[in-house]
Homo-oligomer: 216 residues x 2
DNA sequence: CCGACAAGAACGAACGTTCATGCGTAGACG
DNA sequence: CGTCTACGCATGAACGTTCGTTCTTGTCGG
């Protein structure tokens, strides 16, 4: 377990856009505007008029792309959660065989995602409650799927004795809590680089699990 | 450092009310209603009419007690933050001399507060952004004052070699992040008791700091 | 000519706040 | 002691604004 293995994506300009360009010109602009405004003012604090203005289109035209305000939020959260789970599980699969290595890779991928898609993560943290019914269950299911990746890793490490914490069942949740809230204070121009964040939290996670790096 | 030292308050019914009873009958009811609704639906999602109804009074009468919706939120956050800081620093002062003991006591007090005043903590986490000007700076200052307690403890422990983490400057923030978000998932009737939570997170914090319990 | 995209006007509802009014009571005053 | 007054508490109505959504109309390329 080397402590400064490079994070997958070191060039901020090369970070793939969460929204991309689907050919439909305004769709991306609307999603981007909604992402920013939901994060800045919260779901109820950002009006459809605000979003339309920020996207450079008209209020009524929003409804040619998304049937409701809630559906627009759900669309954003689904994209973010799906990409997050994909990046984390991909990092785990390309990591070495050791559970400690895999958990370190998972934490790095997670932290890296939080830094890259900070606004999306902010929304995912605090705006899910404004969804109901199908929209909500879908988003929550994807979020839980991601948490399970970490829970399984921790359980495996505890079973094999690599993690000696007496609370393996709950440690994964604490690790994710620690990493998620990075979105609430991270500044790309601040003292800590993205690489610093990944290094720190990978080490935090292993320490919290009271891991034995030797592997046995 | 005993791992199961009792948390200050074990009887839920004896937890002092955050709001209390100031003689003014409706004031407490209004604050309690606002606390619950702000936590359930967010600041912008809970209307003054909702709060009045939940408090059992009329809409216009709210303004005989609080001059604005934002001031009502600020009042709640000030009370919560002040009580939190008081309980944490009190716990530190009554703990033993060792830095590790003191940090453990601080974490226990913090977690205990989160469990006791869960709704208040939920609001403090996500609704501060809706405050502006004086109201905001006041709340943020009190929140930072509490964070400094932890930062100072960690710095002292790192300087004396009790905490061997290579990132002492940032570990305190991660510990608080971990403990704060308990408010988002804790259920008093769930598998984990308040005592469990305190034990776990005190241990997490020390492990995260890579503490040497022997003290040197 | 049909469907995707666009815009303005309008809808009813809900928002935070203010106003006008009234009741009860504690304190000042002759 | 009696009375006036001022203030705290309470209410329903109303103000102007903004909300999410829909309607109507129109353009334009395949």
């Amino acid at each position: 377990m080397n402590d400064r293995s490079p994070v997958p994506d070191l060039m901020p300009d090369l970070v793939p856009d969460l929204i991309g360009d689907s050919g439909r010109g305004n769709e991306a602009a609307i999603l981007r505007a909604a992402l920013r405004l939901y994060a800045e003012r919260g779901f109820n604090g950002a009006s459809m008029r605000d979003i339309a203005r920020a996207a450079g289109t008209s209020l009524s035209n929003l409804y040619n792309y998304f049937p409701s305000k809630a559906r627009l939020l759900a669309e954003l959260l689904n994209r973010a959660n799906a990409l997050l789970s994909a990046q984390v599980s991909s990092a785990v699969h390309t990591a070495g065989e050791g559970v400690a290595e895999q958990l370190g890779a998972a934490v790095r991928a997670y932290v890296s995602f939080v830094a890259d898609y900070q606004t999306a993560m902010l929304i995912a943290l605090s705006e899910v409650r404004h969804l109901e019914g199908e929209e909500r269950t879908q988003v929550v299911a994807e979020r839980d799927r991601n948490q399970e990746i970490f829970e399984d890793l921790v359980a495996a490490g505890a079973a094999s004795g690599v993690f000696t914490t007496p609370y393996p069942q709950d440690a994964a949740r604490s690790i994710l809590a620690m990493c998620s809230t990075i979105a609430t204070w991270y500044h790309p121009e601040g003292r800590l680089t993205k690489q610093d964040l990944c290094d720190q939290h990978a080490r935090y996670a292993l320490a919290l699990l009271e891991g034995r790096v030797d592997g046995r």
